[in-house]
């Protein structure tokens, strides 16, 4: 059975690749539907991104997203410009050795008002951990109404105390549930954060008897 699954799974991956690849590139010329003056400026931003060592797919993606959502071309240019600035600022804050995912997650946090120095502080305390999930959770919490400072401080403290990706995901799931049932968002975060034991950085999460987040949640 295992070998059948393996075979079919790789078939799945192989079949998926060309469409994913073609779709990611958006066909031969993804930006061709933009009005020429706007497209010119978008492409200048893409050039600048390359010079700054920034990933360009997020910029192309922003433009394609705008086209898909029927935004007008000026708006699309404005959004690509904003994305460029947030990516650049994220790069300055996090330094050169970061993955595209960390960069886009950090750019997202900057959009929500997190400062470059808060990002830089997170980056400094990272040892070898990746920032993507903490930043994604941070952004989500702020979007759900947790006050920015509370969210930022709490996430930073957890990260510094050695919280792992699974801890952040569990935290996020718990806070979401509490907010849904009426708890004040900031309070929900503080409550749930207390449940996460401090670990030495790099140590694997110890079993705490809490339900595994991969199990079906009973709501």
């Amino acid at each position: 059975m295992k070998s059948v699954l393996t075979g079919l799974a790789s078939l799945l991956v192989v079949l998926a690749s060309p469409a994913a690849l073609a779709a990611q590139v958006g066909g031969r010329d993804p930006l061709q539907r933009l009005e020429p003056a706007v497209r010119y400026k978008v492409e200048l931003l893409i050039d600048s991104a390359k010079i700054y060592g920034l990933p360009t797919p997020p910029l192309v993606s922003r433009a394609l997203e705008g086209m898909s959502k029927r935004a007008d071309d000026r708006k699309i240019l404005a959004e690509v410009t904003r994305e460029f600035r947030f990516l650049r600022d994220a790069r300055v804050a996090l330094g050169p050795q970061v993955s595209t995912s960390e960069l886009t997650a950090a750019a997202g946090a900057l959009r929500l008002g997190i400062s470059q120095s808060e990002l830089a502080q997170l980056a400094r305390s990272r040892t070898d951990k990746v920032l993507t999930i903490p930043l994604v959770v941070l952004s989500d919490l702020i979007s759900r109404g947790v006050p920015r400072d509370t969210a930022s401080t709490t996430i930073y403290q957890l990260f510094q105390r050695g919280a792992a990706d699974d801890d952040f995901l569990g935290l996020w799931r718990g806070v979401e549930r509490d907010i849904d049932s009426g708890t004040d968002p900031g309070q929900a975060l503080l409550n749930r954060a207390r449940e996460i034991p401090a670990r030495s950085p790099g140590a694997p999460p110890a079993s705490t008897g809490r339900p595994d987040i991969s199990e079906t949640q009973d709501r």
Binding site: V4, L5, L8, A9, S10, L11, L12, V13, L15, A16, S17, P18, A19, A20, A22, A23, Q24, V25, G26, R28, P30, P36, S61, R62, L64, E65, G66, M67, S68, K69, A71, K75, A78, E79, R82, S99, T100, S101, T104, A105, G108, A109, R111, L112, V130, T132, I133, V136, V137, S139, S143, R144, L169, W172, R173, I213, S214, T216, Q217, D218
Partner: protein, 199 residues
């Protein structure tokens, strides 16, 4: 756009003149090349004749969900990522969604991610995101008997932003997924983080 024959800026003209200067060629490199060529088998005429400029084709794929179902990948637990499996929950008017990371052998860095939206009133649903150019036609979901819509997308490890599109027009975030920061276009997006070799 500028006319092909319009004058170049003097600075650029200077650069062109300089760039057109011949470069010194290593004679030994050329000799080596000819030796390599002589060692090659003789080229033969192609029969039939094929045009050497071919435009790339888009590939049309069968719905991945069908293959996945046949492969028995549907419903295999969760590996990494955050899943919510909403089996026990009664559908409400608000569309519900879930992202499931299905198991793939470790040799493959990409993962097939299952996207689910409960939307029994919809006529069509698709997933759009940074992995398919936000193209509503690229990743249609298949309607299940229970009124949910599912599709599989193979994603590289890392952070991806996405949304569901209902009936080709309504952008709906995944209610089960982390919220992505404001898209700037007036709609809310969702985030999925695929864990794996590089994220």
């Amino acid at each position: 756009m500028s006319d092909e024959h319009s004058a170049l800026d003097p600075a650029v003209q200077y650069l062109v003149t300089e760039a057109k200067r011949p470069v010194t060629v290593d004679a030994a490199a050329r000799e080596r090349l000819l030796e390599v060529v002589r060692a090659e088998p003789r080229p033969r005429r192609d029969v039939p004749v094929v045009a050497w400029l071919v435009s790339p084709k888009r590939f049309a794929l069968p719905p991945l969900a069908t293959i996945a179902a046949a492969a028995g990948l549907v419903g295999i637990g969760v590996v990494g990522g955050y899943l919510i499996n909403r089996d026990g929950r009664a559908p409400t008017e608000r569309p519900q969604g879930a992202v499931v990371a299905s198991q793939l052998p470790d040799s493959s860095p990409s993962r097939a991610i299952k996207f689910v939206l409960v939307a029994p009133q919809a006529s069509r649903v698709s997933v759009v995101g940074d992995f398919n150019g936000w193209d509503a036609a690229a990743t249609p979901a298949m309607r299940q008997p229970d009124g949910s819509w599912t599709t599989f997308v193979t994603l590289e490890p890392g952070r991806h932003v996405y949304s569901f599109v209902i009936d080709g027009a309504h952008f709906v975030a995944d209610p089960e997924a982390p919220i992505a920061p404001d898209d700037g276009y007036g709609h809310r997006n969702s985030v999925v983080v695929v864990r794996g070799a590089s994220s």
